[in-house]
């Protein structure tokens, strides 16, 4: 008896053990209470617009001529719409009631797009993460950070307080922020324009021939890393801060007339001076450092 009871009791516990994760999953389902999955077949170079007030937007490129939208939101007070119009897919989080809490407004997206897609993303808070998309891209956020990886095309990114990181990006990049930090890593862009008021700026990438690299902030540090074989003309100016330079620059034979007597400026040419690098800060420190 005892044996059978103990066996029966053991089985009961085993069953309970197996059911528990399922029960936990069931209780966790409110977080995924509303899920939308839609697929749209598109032509080459589709345009994808995403408008989301709050949440995570993840975009990945794939080889299919198709856009897949997976959206999750916890509240029934918002709805997620995705529509195909011509060769454009519009994705939007819509508020259904006038009174709604900030948490209700949140929606998270995972979107797969063809790699030549053009993206227009507006996400106020949360985060934006895009990888392997080679089409043009426009991203605007308020507090959301933006991470791009292996992107190309004409990239314009604007944040208010969100940070920005671009890893292995190519093409043309224009990024501006007010307090966000900007990190441009392993870049292969021929045109970079990065501006923030109080954030730091880090540039660790290639200086392509005829490339133009303009980094500007108000305060905070600007750090640029170079290799001895790089070729660029450098102008680095800080009105109230310091400029530290490790590049062996050839000074210009005729310093330009516009050089301000009020600022700390370093200028000169490294090797043949094929690219143009302009760094400016009002109150911050500029460091031009040799790559290890």
């Amino acid at each position: 008896m005892n044996t059978s009871q103990s066996v029966s009791s053991g089985i009961t516990w085993k069953v309970a053990g197996l059911l528990a994760p399922g029960f936990l999953l069931l209780t966790a389902t409110p977080a995924l209470a509303h899920r939308l999955e839609q697929h749209f077949t598109v032509d080459p170079r589709p345009v994808i617009t995403i408008h989301n007030p709050n949440g995570k937007v993840i975009v990945r490129a794939w080889a299919k001529p198709e856009v897949m939208v997976v959206a999750n939101h916890a509240s029934a007070k918002v709805e997620v719409n995705a529509e195909l119009s011509g060769n454009r897919v519009d994705i939007m989080t819509r508020q259904l009631e006038d009174t709604i809490s900030p948490d209700d407004l949140r929606a998270d997206y995972e979107i797969n797009v063809p790699e030549d897609a053009e993206l227009q993303i507006h996400n106020d808070s949360g985060e934006v993460n895009v990888a392997n998309v080679l089409g043009d891209m426009n991203v605007e956020t308020v507090a959301a950070g933006v991470d791009l990886e292996d992107a190309a095309g004409y990239l314009t990114v604007k944040t208010v307080g969100g940070s920005f990181q671009c890893l292995r990006c190519a093409g043309r990049l224009e990024v501006s922020s007010i307090s966000g930090a900007l990190r441009l890593l392993s870049l292969r862009s021929y045109h970079v324009r990065a501006q923030t008021a109080t954030g730091n700026i880090l540039f660790d990438g290639e200086f392509l021939p005829n490339g133009l690299y303009r980094l500007k902030n108000y305060s905070g540090a600007i750090e640029v890393r170079f290799s001895p074989g790089d070729s660029f003309d450098l102008t680095a100016t800080s009105l109230k801060g310091h400029v530290n330079n490790q590049a062996k620059l050839t000074p210009p034979t005729h310093p330009p007339h516009y050089l301000s007597k009020f600022s700390n400026t370093i200028l000169g040419t490294l090797n043949a001076g094929r690219a143009k690098v302009e760094l400016s800060s009002f109150d911050g420190t500029i460091n031009v450092l040799k790559r290890d």
């Binding site: 007030p53 709050n54 508020q95 006038d98 009174t99 709604i100 809490s101 900030p102 407004l105 106020d124 808070s125 308020v142 507090a143 208010v160 307080g161 969100g162 007010i178 307090s179 501006q195 008021a197 109080t198 108000y218 100016t237 009105l239 516009y258 301000s260 009020f262 600022s263 400016s280 009002f282 109150d283």
Partner: protein, 222 residues
Amino acid sequence: MPTSGCTDFENHLEKWMEGERSPQGQAHVRECARCRGLLDDLSLIAAAARDSAPAVMEPPPALWNSLRAQLEQEGLIHERAGVAPGWFPRMFGVLPRPALAGAYLAALIAVAFALSGPVNQRINKARWLRGSESAMLPVTAHIKSVEQRTNVPAPSAVPDLNPVATASLHENLAIVDKYIALCEKSVQEEPENEFARDYLVDAYQQKAELLAQLSERGGNGR
């Protein structure tokens, strides 16, 4: 959502702003909050533009005539063959409201600095300072008046759907205000310093954009 009534109204917006107000248009404005908002923005812009008029010295007509003649001679402009579409739909028809406010303020700043161009060539410090002040005063005054009139909500003034984003906007507005104060101080101390003036212009543009975003957020409670 815009309706066909909104489209009709927008098609007659230029005439409306010139004072020609049809009964249908008036009825539409009474019913449509979106078009009322658009009119509020436009009235604000028109008022600011009127206010700025005395600060901008009007070039004498002879200068315009000689400029036009020169441009025509160089083939850069031509006599108008017919009646061109109104300036208003061409310039602003496609712009959303925040873009309109931001674009206006940015244009105001650009105009103010373009007018200050000759100032840059002067070397006398006092004249530089006067030049800087005269160039910047209309801009600062307008930024302030637009700031008051756009009724930017305080952090706790309206029910906020996205407090993270709104807090970020206010926080960054404070950063830009501080940055403007420091740039203005620099320009005051070193009026010839074009570098400081460039930073001041940047700061004003950033402030204009933030105000436009805050204004829009207060308007629809987003």
